[in-house]
Symmetry: C2
Subunit: 118 residues, 2 copies
DNA sequence: TACGAATCTTCGAAGTTTCTAAGATTCAGA
DNA sequence: TCTGAATCTTAGAAACTTCGAAGATTCGTA
C-alpha cells in the first residue's frame, strides 16, 4: 500500500535528474567512473579540478542518487550507482551525433547552392 | 575530410543537451509530442501555459535540435526529431524509478529498527 | 594528543536561466 | 487593405546555479 503524500509530479523529477546531468564537470565525472570506482583524489587529478569543486559536483550527483560512495581510510571512492546511467550517456551521444550529421549535410547543401541549384 | 575548427568538447555538448531537458515544461512538451505532431495551440492548452512561455520553451528545444516545426496557415506544428529522444525519457524514468524503490526499501529498514535491530 | 592528508562545507560575488508582461510578426479571409 | 487568430520576440526583474577562496572535518599514525 503506497503511502501517497504530496509528491512532486514525475516530470519534475525527470527535469531535476536531467538538470543534474547538465553540467560539463558532472558529465566528465560520470565518464571517469565508467570503468569502475575511483577515489576523489584520482577524479580531481583526472579532470584538473580543485578539491572544493570536485566535492560540490560529486555531492550534486550523490544527492540525485547517480553515484554512491564508500570510505576507506582517508579516501572516499565513488561509483556509478546504476549502469543504465552510462547507457543514457551513450544514447545522448548517439542522438547528438545524428543531429550534428544532419547539420553537416545541410551545410553541404548550402555549399552546393553556390554553384546554382536545380 | 572533417574541417576541424575550435569545437567545443563532446562533454560540453552533452551537458547542453541535458540542460535543455532539465526543465519540467520542456519534459512535458516532449511527452505531449510522443504520439505525433501537435500545434502550438494544442500544446499550450494541454500544459496550461501562456503563449510566450510555450514559444520560449519550444524555441529552446528547437535550438538544441530536439524538435522540428512546420507551418500550415497560421498554425505551427511541432514534432520530436529523433525517436530515440523518447527512449531517453523512458530510460530516465526507469533509472529514477529504481532509485525511488531503493529509498523506499531504506525507509522500510529504518522503520524496522524502531522495533529493535540485531 | 598533535600532525598531515584527503575530503567536505560554507560564503558571497558573478553568471545564467526563468518568469511576466507587453508588443511585434505572420497569415487568411473579408 | 483591414482585422483577428496564432505564434514569436523582447526586456527587465526575480530566482537559481556556479565559481573561488577559505576554513572545517575525518581519519590514520606518531
Amino acid at each position: 500500500m503506497p503511502y501517497r503524500t504530496g509528491q512532486p509530479p514525475v516530470y519534475a523529477l525527470k527535469a531535476d535528474f536531467f538538470r543534474t546531468l547538465g553540467h560539463p564537470a558532472r558529465v566528465r565525472l560520470l565518464q571517469c567512473l565508467r570503468e569502475g570506482e575511483q577515489s576523489v583524489g584520482a577524479l580531481q587529478a583526472a579532470l584538473d579540478l580543485d578539491s572544493g569543486g570536485t566535492s560540490q559536483h560529486l555531492a550534486a550527483l550523490r544527492k540525485q542518487g547517480l553515484v554512491t560512495s564508500r570510505r576507506e581510510g582517508t579516501s572516499v571512492y565513488y561509483r556509478v550507482k546504476d549502469p543504465r546511467i552510462l547507457e543514457l550517456l551513450e544514447l545522448a551521444k548517439a542522438i547528438l551525433t545524428a543531429g550534428l550529421e544532419d547539420n553537416q549535410a545541410l551545410l553541404g547543401e548550402l555549399a552546393d547552392e553556390e554553384f546554382g541549384p536545380r
